[in-house]
C-alpha cells in the first residue's frame, strides 16, 4: 500500500521537472528493444547528429530532445506517443520505424494536432489515402524506390524473369507490389512470389524452392531487414545460389548495418535504395565523416533518414523564426523545406512525402572492408513515380 502511494507521489513529482525557459521540444519514437533495435539506434543517432550540428538551437531557441522506446510494438508506440504529447508536451514528433506503430499513432497525432515527421516507416497510406497536413515523411513510401528499381532491372540490367521473396508483412507486400508493377509494365515476368514470416530462422526450405528454378529465372528480388537480412544473405550464399541466380534486391538488405555480419556472402549482390554510405555528394562525405567520428559506426540508411528528418525540422523552425507555436506557419514552412541532404537534394512532394534519388549498388570488398559501391542513380523519384517505356 505504502509502495503504491510512494510511486504515485513520485510520478506526480516528475511533472515539474521539464519546464525550463520554454525550449522547443521534439519527441522521438524508435524501437530500442527487439529485432529492429539497431535500426532504432541508427535512426536516433542520425537525428541527433542534425541537432548537434546546430548545437541544439534553432532561431535562437533551445531544442530539447526526448526519446521513447516503441519496442516496435504498435500498442507501446501509442502509449509512448501519448506520454510525449500529454506529459512532455512536445511540439513535434519524429522517428518511427515500424509501419504498424505509424498506423497506430496516426489518428491520435492528428486529433492532438501534433506534427509528425516519419523518418522511416514506409506504410503507403500515410502519405496517400490517409494523408494529412500533420504527417510528413522523409524516408520513402513503400514501392517508391521499388518501382524505380523494377524499371532499372528491366531497362538497364536486362533482366526479364524475376523470383520474388520477402518478409511477410505490410512493408514486404507493398514493396514487392511496387517492383512488380514497374517490372511488368516494362514487359517483364514474375516467375514465383513467396513471403516468409518475420524472424524466420531457417530459410532452407525456401532456398530449395529457388534452387529448383535455376535456369528459369534471371534474378532474385528480396526484401529483408534486421536479423532476417543477415540470415538470408548468409544462407543464400551457403547454398551456392548466389552464383546461380544473382540478387537484385531492395537495398535495405545490404545496409551498412548488416554488411559486417554478412561479410563475403553479400559480395556481388546488387540492389537499390535511396541512400548508401558511399553516395558521392559533398554533403554525404561530410556527414559520413562526422557520423563515423562521433558514433564509431558507419551510417546506414536509417542513420541518414534520421538525420534528414532532424534537419528538415530545424530548417522549418528557422524559417518561422522559432515560433513553432504558430502551427499553420510551421506546417507550411516544413512542407516547403529544401536543402542538400547526404543522399542528394531534398524536398517534399504535395502530399508531404519525400522526393529523392534512388541509387543502384553493388557490394564489394575493399581493403578488408565490405562496402556498398554506388554504380548508378535515378534522380527525382517521388511516391507516384512510374517508368516510361
Amino acid at each position: 500500500m505504502i509502495m503504491f502511494a510512494l510511486l504515485f507521489l513520485l510520478t506526480l513529482g516528475g511533472q515539474g521537472i521539464a519546464e525550463a525557459a520554454n525550449p522547443i521540444k521534439i519527441g522521438f519514437l524508435a524501437p530500442y528493444v527487439g529485432v529492429f533495435s539497431k535500426y532504432g539506434t541508427d535512426l536516433k543517432n542520425g537525428f541527433k547528429q542534425a541537432l548537434e550540428e546546430v548545437n541544439f538551437k534553432a532561431a535562437g531557441r533551445e531544442i530539447l530532445f526526448v526519446t521513447e522506446d516503441t519496442e516496435g510494438k504498435p500498442e507501446v508506440g501509442l502509449t509512448k506517443t501519448r506520454k510525449l504529447v500529454e506529459k512532455d508536451q512536445v511540439h513535434v514528433l519524429a522517428g518511427i520505424i515500424s509501419s504498424g506503430v505509424a498506423y497506430a499513432v496516426k489518428d491520435y497525432v492528428v486529433e492532438k494536432k501534433t506534427p509528425l515527421v516519419i523518418c522511416c516507416a514506409g506504410a503507403t497510406k500515410l502519405t496517400q489515402e490517409d494523408r494529412n497536413p500533420f504527417i510528413f515523411r522523409v524516408s520513402f513510401a513503400n514501392g517508391q524506390q521499388d518501382r524505380a528499381g523494377g524499371w532499372y532491372a528491366y531497362a538497364k540490367k536486362g533482366y526479364r524473369k524475376f523470383i520474388m521473396i520477402g518478409s511477410d508483412y505490410a512493408a514486404g507486400h507493398e514493396k514487392a507490389a511496387g517492383f512488380i508493377k514497374a517490372f511488368k509494365f516494362m514487359g517483364g515476368e514474375i516467375v514465383q512470389e513467396t513471403y516468409t514470416p518475420l524472424g524466420t530462422t531457417d530459410y532452407a526450405p525456401y532456398l530449395a524452392k529457388i534452387a529448383n528454378l535455376v535456369g528459369k529465372a534471371d534474378s532474385l528480388w528480396t526484401f529483408y531487414a534486421g536479423s532476417d537480412a543477415i540470415r538470408f544473405a548468409n544462407q543464400y550464399d551457403e547454398y551456392g545460389l548466389k552464383k546461380k541466380i544473382p540478387i537484385f534486391c531492395e537495398g535495405g538488405m545490404l545496409d551498412a548495418a548488416n554488411l559486417p555480419s554478412q561479410k563475403d556472402s553479400a559480395v556481388g549482390m546488387e540492389g537499390y535504395l535511396q541512400y548508401f554510405e558511399t553516395v558521392n555528394t559533398p554533403e554525404n562525405k561530410r556527414f559520413f565523416k562526422e557520423y563515423r567520428e562521433k558514433y564509431k559506426d558507419i551510417p546506414g540508411s536509417l542513420s541518414e533518414g534520421g538525420y534528414v528528418g532532424g534537419k528538415a525540422i530545424v530548417k522549418a523552425i528557422e524559417a518561422v523564426k522559432g515560433k513553432i507555436e504558430n502551427q499553420e506557419a510551421f506546417l507550411k514552412a516544413l512542407k516547403g523545406v529544401k536543402f542538400e541532404a547526404p543522399r542528394g537534394p531534398f524536398r517534399f512532394d504535395d502530399h508531404q512525402n519525400v522526393i529523392e534519388p534512388v541509387y543502384i549498388n553493388r557490394v564489394e570488398k575493399k581493403g578488408g572492408e565490405y562496402v556498398n559501391v554506388v554504380i548508378d542513380k535515378i534522380p527525382d523519384v517521388g511516391q507516384y513515380w512510374m517508368p516510361k517505356k
Binding site: 530500442y32 527487439g34 529485432v35 539497431k38 526450405p205 529448383n212 547454398y239 551456392g240 548495418a257 555480419s261
Partner: protein
C-alpha cells in the same frame, strides 16, 4: 530427387537444433515441474558469449566449451539461489523465470547491442557438398551429427547411469525420491544446470544458422513449447520424436505450402492439445 533429399536434411538439421532446446526444457519440467520461461535466455546468452569468444580467438571448440559452461553455471545459480526457495510453488518459480528473462535479455542488449549477428562457422565446416545440382552446407550435417550424438548420450545417461535413474525416478514419482534420502536439491540443481547446458549448446551450435539477436530467446522458447507439447511433457524420447516431427513438418510445410507456414507449427500442437494433452509420449501426474 535432390529436392527431397535436401529438404529432408534441412528438416533434420532444424530438428536437431530443436531437440537441444526442447530436451533441456522437458527435463526441467519433467523433474521439477517448472515451466522455465527463461529457457530461451540460455540460448541467447550462450550464443552471445560464443560470438565474443569466436571473434577474439577464432576457436570454435573454445567457444562451445565456454558458452556451455556459462549456461550451466547460470542455470545452476538460477535454481539453487532463487528457484529453490519456492520448492513446490510452481507459480512463483515460473514468474521468477520471467523476471530473469527480462534481466538476461536486457543485459545482453546492453553488452552486445541490438544489432542482429551471425556466428561464424568453424573453419572445417565452412564449405558445402554437392547433392544433385545444388550445394548443401556441410555445417548443417555437423548439426545433425551433434544432435544425434547428444541424443544418444542423453539416452545413455538416462537409462544407464545412476544419476539418470534418480532423475527417472523423480520424474515418475517425486515423493518417492524425496523419501529415499538422496539430496534432492543437488539433483534439481544438477538437472536444471543440465537443461541450461543443452540450451547453451543449442545456442552455440545454432548460432551460425539462426544467428543471435534480441528476441531470439522468446522465439526459441516458443519452438521448445511446441515440441514438448507434441512430443510429450517430461519425456526425452518425446522431445526427440517431437523435434523430428516439428522440424520436418515445418520444413516441408514451408517448402510445399508457404502460405500456411505458421500453421504447420501450431496446427499439430492444437490437435495434440485437443486429443491427447500430454503429448505422444508424455504422462500426466494424477
Amino acid at each position: 530427387m535432390a529436392f527431397w533429399i535436401i529438404q529432408t536434411l534441412n528438416g533434420l538439421s532444424f530438428s536437431m537444433l530443436l531437440f537441444l532446446i526442447a530436451a533441456g526444457f522437458t527435463l526441467i519440467f519433467g523433474l521439477m515441474k517448472i515451466i522455465n520461461i527463461a529457457h530461451g535466455s540460455f540460448y541467447l546468452l550462450s550464443a552471445y558469449i560464443g560470438l565474443t569468444i569466436l571473434r577474439t580467438t577464432d576457436s570454435f571448440l573454445l567457444a562451445v566449451v565456454t558458452s556451455s559452461v556459462a549456461a550451466f553455471v547460470v542455470g545452476v545459480a538460477m535454481q539453487s539461489l532463487f528457484l529453490r526457495r519456492f520448492y513446490m510453488k510452481e507459480l512463483q518459480q515460473v514468474l521468477l523465470t520471467f523476471g530473469f528473462v527480462l534481466i538476461i535479455a536486457d543485459l545482453c542488449l546492453w553488452v552486445w547491442g541490438g544489432n542482429p549477428m551471425a556466428l561464424p562457422k568453424p573453419s572445417l565446416f565452412r564449405g558445402s557438398i554437392w547433392i544433385g545440382n545444388v550445394v548443401f552446407p556441410s555445417y548443417r550435417l555437423l548439426v545433425i551429427l551433434v544432435g544425434v550424438i547428444i541424443a544418444v548420450g542423453l539416452w545413455i545417461f538416462q537409462e544407464k547411469t545412476k544419476f539418470g535413474a534418480i532423475v527417472r525416478a523423480g520424474v515418475d514419482d517425486e515423493e518417492m525420491l524425496r523419501g529415499s534420502g538422496i539430496n534432492i536439491q543437488r539433483v534439481f540443481a544438477g538437472v536444471f544446470g543440465l537443461g541450461a547446458l543443452l540450451a547453451g549448446i543449442g545456442g552455440i551450435i545454432g548460432g551460425p544458422i539462426v544467428g543471435v539477436f534480441p528476441g531470439a530467446d522468446l522465439s526459441m522458447l516458443l519452438l521448445a513449447l511446441v515440441v514438448v507439447i507434441i512430443g510429450g511433457i517430461g519425456s526425452l524420447k518425446g522431445a526427440f520424436v517431437g523435434s523430428l516431427f516439428v522440424g520436418l513438418v515445418d520444413n516441408f510445410g514451408k517448402a510445399l505450402f508457404p502460405e500456411l507456414s505458421m500453421f504447420t507449427l501450431f496446427a499439430p500442437m492444437a490437435i495434440v492439445l485437443a486429443i491427447r494433452p500430454t503429448g505422444i509420449f508424455g504422462k500426466m501426474e494424477e
